[in-house]
Amino acid sequence: MKADSNKPIIEVKNFTAVMGGEMIIDNISFEVNAGEIFVILGGSGCGKSTLLKHMIGLIEPSAGDIEIEGENIATASEEIKKKIQNRIGVMYQQGALFGSMSLIENVSLPLKEFTTFSPEAIHLIANMKLQMVGLDKYARHMPSEISGGMKKRAAIARAMALDPKILFLDEPSAGLDPITSAELDHLIKRLSRNFNITFVVVTHELESIYSIADRVIMLDKRVKKIVATGKPSYLRDNSDNPWVRQFFRREINTI
């Protein structure tokens, strides 16, 4: 069921992030394999959203390389960066839907800009993307008229418009009720299996992590490095770092 684990689709090498004079992440390296659901997690302020922003080309790293399908987005020219960004999809934490357009117009935008489909074809494809996230009835609603959970689902539909090979999700479950969150997890797994899409998910919702993650890396803001890598259930039981075990068991310090 899972894709070849010896073909990394994303390679991060010696990545360092310094923001506002402060070191956020100190020289980390990791790989994301094609077709897997890869989760980046850690406590608040550990730099996971920052790492994501670097991986999608919004910020240039202070040092290191980020290779997406073999091309280094960290040092790429504007032209090449745009080409790489066309092949990935990003879902932002608050949805980041365009407020002046309806949902279907939002999803249609990448199709209009980057493909040569006819308007009717675009309409059908956009409608299907919305159906996949369960929002087809709200296709003509404006973002301000729908709830937060629906905004996130619409944002995923838009991120998938061009059938990207890699989808980046920034805190997809934040602010969602348990059922919606579970449905979202189910959607992520279904997309990963059926379309062989690689997912890079930033989250700290344990339920989702156990449900969807094939592999995780855990960042720790105290050391600014990766403190754990592997399957979440394995880390919960077998990690030699007590803090990691504590995190996965959702235990507080009772000392």
Partner: protein, 376 residues
Amino acid sequence: MEDIKQANHKTFYEGENLLLEISGILDVTSTPKIWKETSKIIQESKFKKLVIQANGIHDCEGVGIALLFHYKKMARILDVEIEIQGLEKKFEDLLNFFTHENEVKAFVNFQDSWNTPEKIGYHTVQLWEEIKFIINFIGECSVLLFSSLKHPSKIKWLEVVKLAENAGVNALPIIVLIGFLLGLIMSFQSAIPMQRFGAEIFVANLVSMSLFRELGPLMTAVIIAGRTASSFAAELGTMKVSEEIDAITTMGLSPLQFLVIPRLIAGIIISPMLTIFFNLAGLIGSAVVMMSFQYPFITFVNQVLSAVKNPDMFGGLFKATVFGGVISAIGCFHGLNTSTGASSVGESTTKSVVNGIISIAVLDGVFSVLFYYLGV
């Protein structure tokens, strides 16, 4: 990395059936062409059943599934049977996920279907509602303002001073510049025709009277509207969008008392002061022109002093005071009434400037009539 994937199609008849063989990779680069071409073929052919042979499809992305769904939809519209053969199970499962009941009809906006009388009616009602709100708001603010002035200790004077500095002191450069230029230009333009009658010195009368009575208060108010009303609207609008106004209300404070009154008072204070500077700069500009026409400075001063009397100046400053209050109130009002969405703060800002300028123009007319009857 840039290679365009290939997808091919072949059609042939088998009895009354149209066989459509699709092969290759269906992704965003390869599918548009095959979509257009095969749709055309299907439209132009006559058949009882459409058979799609999908054995040759190596890879099918979302748009590929969409294409197959499109064939199903076409079959429904053309009222023919459709069969898809040889499709990989996982793609078939995906295809079966989509139903046609929930498809949305394209491009129809409810409001666009109204005819002209309906639209006129809608906008008139909207306009009337807005006018009512403005009058309501100005009334409410006046009441609060007078009650605040009766209890000066309740006003946050530090806040007022900070706002006045921002709205007043920081506006001095532009006020002085425009005042100076206006005085200069007006003097120059009127001196030229007046030269014919040797009456250039009366330019001093003309400019000083216009400045003190009308142009000073009006122009200053317009500049304040552009600078300050917009900034109040944007500030309060952003607070509204980020729920800060709600937070103030649920704490038991009144947003009007807490936010609007300090801004009102600041506007009322700085407006006449800025007008004085505007007038002064205008007179200096005029003096420059007159001196270039060889009139001594003292002559200019005497002319001005003889032309402008106390009622002129104080009338103008009184107008300026009222203008300052009205502009601040309108800026705050639109800020507090910001709706949701990214464009709303921009809309509020624009509305506050436009409404502010319109209001002071109307008020100026009212004052003109009023002063005439009062003999000011």
